[in-house]
Amino acid sequence: MARYRYLFSQLVRRELRRKYKGSRFGVLWYLINPLVLLGVYTLMFGYVFKLQSIPDFPIFLMVGLVVWSFFAQSLMAAADSLIEQGGLVRKARFPRQAIPASTVAVQLVTMVAMLVLLVPLAVALRGTLVPALLLLPVLVGLLFCFVLGCALIVAVLHAYFRDVGPILAAALLPWFFLTPIFFEPGSIGYVHRHELVGTLLQWVNPIAPFVQAIRSVVYDGGGPGWGRLLYAALAAGAALALGSFVFRRMESELAVVV
């Protein structure tokens, strides 16, 4: 495995530059796109259709969006990755996990870059320069493991069953609105009256605890809470274990199907 570390870094470089090679702004597009998205959502949901009165709503929203974009973009890119790199898969024998992993790594780079822009802004506006901020790298690491595990499953399944990509794309849209990105489940009256809905929104949706934990650190300036931290660790471990297992079980025929 260590022998292929260099392959992984090469794949990441290639993936990073492939999409926008030859364009004027190059890798900057990786930031421009999410920034535009952030701007639109902030404008629409923060000012035009104001849903809840959340102070510094743009910051609140951006934290959630950054986490969600990493999750959704990684899975979508991973789904196509093995087919797109079919030439490599058919050519040589190497750990094929490197291909979906490199797409996730590229998205991680984007997310970290966004956080580097966002965190100082949050610290300045919200005064969240607290020790809990040190937990942010840990949370990002756990999120990466969680997404990587999911990406491995999605990538290998899509190579065999080409419906997986479209199903995923369709599922991500409602999933986006059900994830606490625009709202804080704890401060919605309806959720207070129906405890089950609150549980569903905050704990059954596996990405929700990550969103809320990272937001509590960056936006609220408080600890994520032991529950969420434990949840994130378990989800990351389980996703990674399941992802590697499924991938290893299914990878043998990849050179034939892609």
Binding site: R3, L11, R14, R18, G87, R90, R93, F161, R162
Partner: protein
Amino acid sequence: MRRGEVVLRDATRSFSVRADPARTLKGLLLGKRAPGPAPVPALRGVTLRIEPGQTVGMVGRNGAGKTSTLRVLAGIVPLQSGEVACGGRVLALLELAAGFSRDFSGRENVFLQGALYGLSKREVNDRLEQIIDFAELGEFIDIPVKTYSSGMFVRLGFAIAAHLDADVLLIDEVLAVGDESFQRKCMRRIAEQIAAGATVVLVSHDPGAIERVCERVVVLDAGRVVFDGPTAEGLLHYHQLMGTVQGGGRSYRHVHRGAAGVTDVELRDAAGRASSVFRSGEELRLAVEVRAPVRDRAELTLELRAGEGVTLFRTSTPFEPGPDGRAELLFEVPELWLLGGDYDLLLGVAPGGEEPVFDRTVRFSVPSGPGAQGLLDLRGSWRSLTAARSGAQ
């Protein structure tokens, strides 16, 4: 398992030939698949043991399972039953032009492809100059590969793969690409690897290349090994399989009843057996059956061409068809002084004095021996004159 050893035991593998090789979820959920052609078996129980350092040629028709065997040996495609094992670093030269990133320069692609075969950055760096040199790309190495010609892709692909120091080298038809001087360079590079002790499995449709490189030939047909043994015998087997020995080679046009033409051709060795491999200096006989309208004066023309199409020799003979319009002719060459390579004999019949239309071609090959190079052995010898003069003074 020793380094360079290759073992394949009872290997079977079939492939789906459906337009949608990947299954759909719908089919999976409904528990049935749309009707379609059954999977095509590519390997049906192939057993092969190759000792370290051996060079093996693999021949057979299209679809006989040659490339599948290589893909199995390289570990890219798994077996459905049987065993496969290769000792040491296995390197497959498959799809040489594949896997390049079109927007990246040749140099950047060298790093990626090197990494794909498991090299570290330093290992690629150490070989970079040699690879660029070998690929003959010059300043093109720093230009995006999307501007490359297909020949440049393959040259770069081969250059990368050939500098990786494999214990087992699997080569698929790559020698059929590039210009002649590059092909020669590839062969030299392969020879170097063999000299360094690598095991080589070479798939090729070129009997000449197999003859030059391999000590052993495996003939595959319909997913089975039909011959496994020394090269000369193996190539004969291959020619028989391909129908290039008996029944008189390829026909360019159908000869109608009553029209003039060549109906059958056979190449025979000194003992009168059908053959398509002749050693330099051996006897070659060509038996020809021709047909021409009775009472017409007709002429049979024979032309010998080297593999590249150069005419080496041409001769004609008039013949008298019998009452059934047929005639049998024999052309005898007591000593065939051709050198290693593939040759074609073209045959055609025409009314006397007219330019013939060649209807038949038979191919034969001459194994290369040591010493002389070229097409013809002039049977000359060298003698020093200086010694004789000084003796006379």
